[in-house]
C-alpha cells in the first residue's frame, strides 16, 4: 500500500509487510496492538477523527479505513495460512490406516429378503399378498386340496397334529399344523370371486427332525391364479418370467411332469444350476438343473370344493421353499443356520 501522507498512519503501514511471517501468538498480539477494540493503534486513530477540524476529518477518516482494510486482509490471510499449516502438521502425525468408527447396522433375515424379492416380482404380475392361519383343519390342509384319504400321497406330508378338539362341520376335522401354505388357496377361493391372483408366504410344518436339509418348520411361498381363460401356457409364462427376474434374464428353465393331488397337469420347474450354469456339478448331481418349485393347473376337484365353477374357471398354482432358494443363492450348507440366530450368520448375508 502506498503511504497515506499521514505520518501516524504510515508508521503503522511499515509493519504491514511483517504480518506474513508472524507465528500464531505474535499474530494475535499484533492484531490486538493494531486493531484491538480497546487500545489498538488504528482504533485510537479512529477515535481522533471526531476531534479533528471538519476539513481534515474526511481525508484522515478515509486513510484510516484504507489502512484498516489492508491490515484486516493481511491478518485474515495469515490466519488461514497458519490454520492450513497446523492442519497439515496434525495430519502428518495420524495413522490413517486405523479403523473407522462404525455404527451397528441392522438387516432382514436372508429368508425374508428372498421372500420379499419373490413377492415383489409377483406383485408386478398383478398378484396380491394373502396369508392364512398356521393351525388348520384336515379339510383345508388335505381334503379340500383333493388329497385322497389313506393314500401314499400323504407320505410326503408327515403331519404334526395339535392336541385340541377336532373342528366340527364339513370344513373341520382334526387340527394340525399346516403342511404347506396351500390351504390359503382354499381360503382365498372361498372368500373371493375370481379373478383371484394371490401370492402367499408363510410357515409350514412337517414331522421331520432337524437335519442339514430339513427343518420341522420352514417357510413356503405359494401362488394362485384363477380366472377364465387361464391355461398351462399362462402357468409356464408366469413362472419363466419369475425365474428370469429372480435368477437373471438369461436363466434357462425346464418343466418336468410331477404329481401333486391338488394340481393337474402337475409340474416341477428346474432352473439351470446357479453354480455350474448347466455344465453339471456335484450340487446339481451332474444334471445342470436345480429343482426350484412345484406347480400345476388347479385340479377341477379343488375348484369344485371351493364352489368355483370348474368348467368356466381354470387356474394355476405353484409353491416353493424360500429357505431352500436362500441356501442355493448364498451357498448355505445347513438349513439349521437359518433358525439358530447366530449374529455372525445373520449379519453376513445382507
Amino acid at each position: 500500500m502506498n503511504p497515506t501522507g499521514y505520518a501516524q498512519l504510515d508508521e503503522l503501514l511499515a509493519r504491514l509487510a511483517g504480518i506474513a511471517s508472524l507465528d500464531e501468538s505474535a499474530l494475535e498480539a499484533e492484531h490486538t496492538a493494531i486493531l484491538g477494540r480497546k487500545a489498538g493503534a488504528l482504533t485510537e486513530a479512529s477515535k481522533q477523527i471526531p476531534t479533528l477540524p471538519p476539513e481534515e476529518r474526511r481525508g484522515f477518516g478515509a486513510a484510516v479505513n484504507q489502512v484498516k482494510a489492508a491490515f484486516e486482509q493481511a491478518f485474515t490471510a495469515r490466519r488461514a495460512e497458519l490454520a492450513e499449516e497446523s492442519r497439515r502438521r496434525a495430519l502428518a502425525g495420524v495413522d490413517l490406516t486405523m479403523p473407522a468408527r462404525h455404527r451397528w447396522i441392522g438387516s432382514a433375515h436372508p429368508v425374508t429378503t428372498v421372500i420379499d424379492e419373490i413377492t415383489e416380482i409377483f406383485r408386478g404380475l398383478g398378484f396380491v399378498v394373502a396369508v392364512g392361519p398356521e393351525v388348520e383343519t384336515e379339510w383345508y390342509n388335505f381334503h379340500a386340496l383333493n388329497f385322497p384319504a389313506n393314500h401314499p400321497a400323504m407320505d410326503m406330508h408327515d403331519t404334526l397334529y395339535v392336541d385340541a378338539t377336532p373342528v366340527p362341520g364339513d370344513r373341520g376335522g382334526r387340527q394340525l399344523l399346516r403342511t404347506h401354505t396351500s390351504p390359503v388357496q382354499i381360503r382365498e377361493l372361498l372368500t373371493h370371486e375370481p379373478p383371484v391372483r394371490a401370492i402367499i408366504p408363510g410357515m409350514s410344518y412337517r414331522n421331520d427332525p432337524f437335519d442339514p436339509s430339513h427343518a420341522p418348520a420352514f417357510h413356503q411361498i405359494e401362488g394362485l391364479a384363477v380366472d377364465e381363460g387361464i391355461s398351462f401356457v399362462d402357468l409356464k409364462a408366469t413362472l419363466v418370467h419369475f425365474a428370469r427376474r429372480f435368477f437373471g434374464e438369461t436363466t434357462r428353465t425346464r418343466f418336468r411332469p410331477s404329481y401333486f393331488p391338488f394340481t393337474e397337469p402337475s409340474a416341477e420347474m428346474d432352473v439351470e444350476c446357479q453354480l455350474c450354469h448347466g455344465s453339471g456339478c456335484p450340487a446339481c448331481k451332474g444334471t445342470g438343473w436345480m429343482e426350484i418349485l412345484g406347480c400345476g393347473m388347479v385340479h377341477p376337484a379343488v375348484l369344485a370344493n371351493c364352489d368355483v365353477d370348474a368348467e368356466r374357471y381354470t387356474g394355476f398354482a405353484f409353491g416353493m421353499g424360500p429357505a431352500r432358494i436362500t441356501m442355493l443363492r448364498y451357498g448355505v450348507t445347513d438349513i439349521r443356520y437359518m433358525y439358530e440366530g447366530d449374529m455372525r450368520f445373520l449379519g453376513s448375508l445382507r
Binding site: 479403523p99 447396522i105 399378498v129 377341477p300 445373520l346
Partner: protein
Amino acid sequence: MNVSRRWLEAFLRRPLDARDVANRLAMLGAPVDAIEPLHADLAAIRVALVEEVRPHPNADRLRVCTVNDGSAERLNVVCGAANVTAGKKYPFAPVGSTVPGRPPKKPALTLDRRKIRGEVSEGMLCSLEELGFEPQDDGIWELETDAAPGTPLLEALPLADDRLVVDVTANRPDLLGHKGIARELAASYGVPFRLPVLPGAVDIDVPPSRRIAESEGAGQSGTVTGGVRVSIEDTEGCARFHAAVIRDVRVAPSPGWLVQRLEAAGVRSINNIVDATNYVMLEFAQPMHAYDMARLHGPAVIARRGRRGEKVVTLDGVERAVTEEMTVIADERGAIGIGGVMGGSGTEVHEGTTDVFLECAWFEPGRIRRTRSALGLSTDASYRFERGVDLWNAAEPFRRCIELVLTLAGGTNVDAPADLWPRVTHPPRIFLRLPRVAQVLGVELPLHTVEKHLVAIGATVVSKPDDGRIAVDVPGWRPDLVAEIDLIEEVARREGYDEFPSDLRRFRTGNVPDAPIVAASERVRDRLIAEGLLEAMTLPMVPVSGEGIRLLNPVSEEHGMLRHRLLPGLVRQVELNWSRRVRDVRLFEIGAVFAPGSAGELPQETPRIAAVVSGSRAPEHWTGAAPDFDQWDLKAIFESAVEVAAPGGTIEPDGEGWVVRGPDGRAIGSAGSLAADAPPWAGTVFGFELELHAGPRPPVRFVPRPPTPSSERDVTLLVPDGIAAGALAQVLSGGGVTVLESVRIVNAYRGDRVPDGTRSVTFRLTFRAADRTLEAAEIDSAEAHLLLLLERETGVRRREQ
C-alpha cells in the same frame, strides 16, 4: 425304484445310455436321483484259460498254474483254490490291477509280482467274493463262456450295468416295474418293447388259467388247483387271486444272469424260487409269493380277514398280532402270512422244498396301507399294493412267474392255474373333449396328436362320437387315470411340457388388497432394522412347559408345544451366541403366537414383534469402548417399535420396566430386562414383546416449520421423590403457552448437592412464534407463568443455586 439299464435294454432290444435314459425319464415325470455304475471296478479283469496245473513244490495246498491271458507269453500264477482245473476259464487279475473284494470282510487288493513260497506269481485267479460278488463256495469262479482268453470280463459276461434310482411319484405304480419304465422309454425313443427272453427258457406249456367267478350267493370264490383248496373269503380286501401248484422243483441258487439282474435292482438273491417271484415283481410291479406246499395244512390257501388273537411269525422272524382289519392268507389251521405285506416263516420255501404253491393276488390299496402302517412293516410288496397293482392284467405276470420257476427249478405244473375273481370289473372309460384340452393347456392340439399320445400310454381310443368327445379306455396298470383332467395331463406329458409356449398373455389382476398384516410387518421390520437390529427366526414349536397348545406327535420334547410368546425363543438365541463367545447381540423376530381356542375351534393366532439387545451399544473402537446397552436404549427401541407396530399405544412404567396399552387400555406389550443363562462376561439382556397391529397406518400430515428463530430456557427443578418427571413435563407442555414449542429433559442429578428424598431435573424449554422473533420479556413472562403453574399443580419449585 432301482432300475437296471441292462434290463431296460433287454426290453427295448437296443443299447441305452444311462444318462440319456435319466434325462428322458426326468422329462416324463420320473426323475432319476442317482446313476450308480455297477462293477465298473472290474474293468481290468480278463478272462484267462488255465492251461496247466502243477503242485507247488513248497506248499501242499497251493498249485502253480500256467495261465493264458491272451498275450503271447504264458504266465505263472500261484493259486490256492481246490477247484482250479486245467482247460477251464477263470477271471484273472493281472499284476497292477485291483480287485474290489467285499469290504470289510474281504478288503480290496492290488496285485504285484511276487514270490509265494518261492514260486513267482504274476497275477491272481479270482473268486466271486474277491470281485465283489456274493460268495457261493470257497473256490475260484469258473466261467462258462466262449470268450477268448484276454477278453475283458465285463465284455464276456453281462456284469457291467447302471443302477438308476428312479423317484416314482405316488400316482404311478406302473413305474415300480421295469416293464412300466420300458413302456415310457419305448414311446420316447419311438421303438417297440417286448418282454425280455428268459435265458435258458425251454418251450413250456402252461395251460390257461381257469377263471373262477363268485360262488353261488356266498359272495366268495373258491376252487381246488393242484390239490390245494384255494378260496377268497375277504373279497373286499382281496379282489383277485391267481394260484398254481408246481411239483418236483429243485430249490437251488439262481443262475448268474438272474442274480445280476436282481442285484442291479437292489434285491439280494435267495434261491431260484424266491428269486423268480422277486424277478416278476421287479418286471411287472406285481408282487408274488411262493409257499412250501408241504407245510400248508389242508392243504388250503384262504384269503380272509384276520381273527382276533391270531398271530403270524413273518419272514423276518417277528411274531405279529393280526387284527380283523387286515387281510391274511391262511391255511386250515390259521393265518400263515399277512396278505400283500409279508409271508410267514412257517411256509417259507427252503432248500428241501419240492412242491411250491404260487400266489399272485390283488389286495385293496387302502387296506394294505392301514395294515402295514399298523404293523410298522413296509415291504416291496406293500409299497406296490398300496399304490395299486394292475387288477386286470395279472394273468401275464403270473404266467411269467410259472415259466420262470419251471425254467429255473424244473418241476411240473400239474394242473391248470386257478384265477379266482369273484366280481369281474373293467378299467374305467373316460370321455375327453378336445375343447377342454385346449382350455386347460392353452394350445389347440389336433385329434390325431391327442390319440397318438393316449395310445402311447396303452389306452384304447374306443370311439369318436359326433359330440366332440372321444371315449378312452384306460389301461389297467394306470389306476391314476379316472377323470378327463387325468387324460389331459397325459396328453401334455407326452407332448412334452417344454413344447408349450411360455409367452405372457393378458391377465386380470387380483381384485383385493394385500392382507393388512403384510404392510404392518414390513413397516415394523424396516424400523427395527433402522435401529440396528438383525431379524431372526425361531421355531414356533418350543419345549413343553406349563399351559398351552401341545402337539400330539411332536418331533421331540424340545418341540412339543406351540409358542405363546416370542421372547423365550430369542433369549435362547442370545444364549446360543454367548455359547459361541459372541457378546453383542441385537435380534428381533416377527411371528405368530398361539393361544388355545374354544373347544372345536382353531387356536387364536396373534402376530407379534419381539426384540432383544445385549452387550455393547456400538461396535468397539480404538478411541474408547462404547458402553453397554441399558434400559434407556431399550426404551428407545421399544418406543420406536410401538410407534409403528401399535400406533396410539401409550407406554407406562410397570415394575422395573414398561408396559404398553392400546387405545382400549389393554396391555399389548411390555419391555424390560430379561433373565438368561449368562456367562460372567455377558451384558444384561433387555427385550420387549408387542402385538403387531394390522390395521391401516394412521395418516401422516405435513406440519409447516416456521423459519423464525427459537429461544431456549433451561429450568432446573427440585423434584421430590414420588413425582414423575414425565408428569412435570406434561404440566409444562399443557400449560397453555402457545409459543412453547417443546419440553425436553436434558439433565438429572441426585446426590449431596440436593436434599435427601429429592433430585434435580433440568428441563429445556424451547420457545418459538411462527410470525415473529420473540422478545426476552415475552419469554420471561411465559417462563414465570409456567413455573407458577407447576408449583400450584405439583408443588415443585426451581432449585435454589
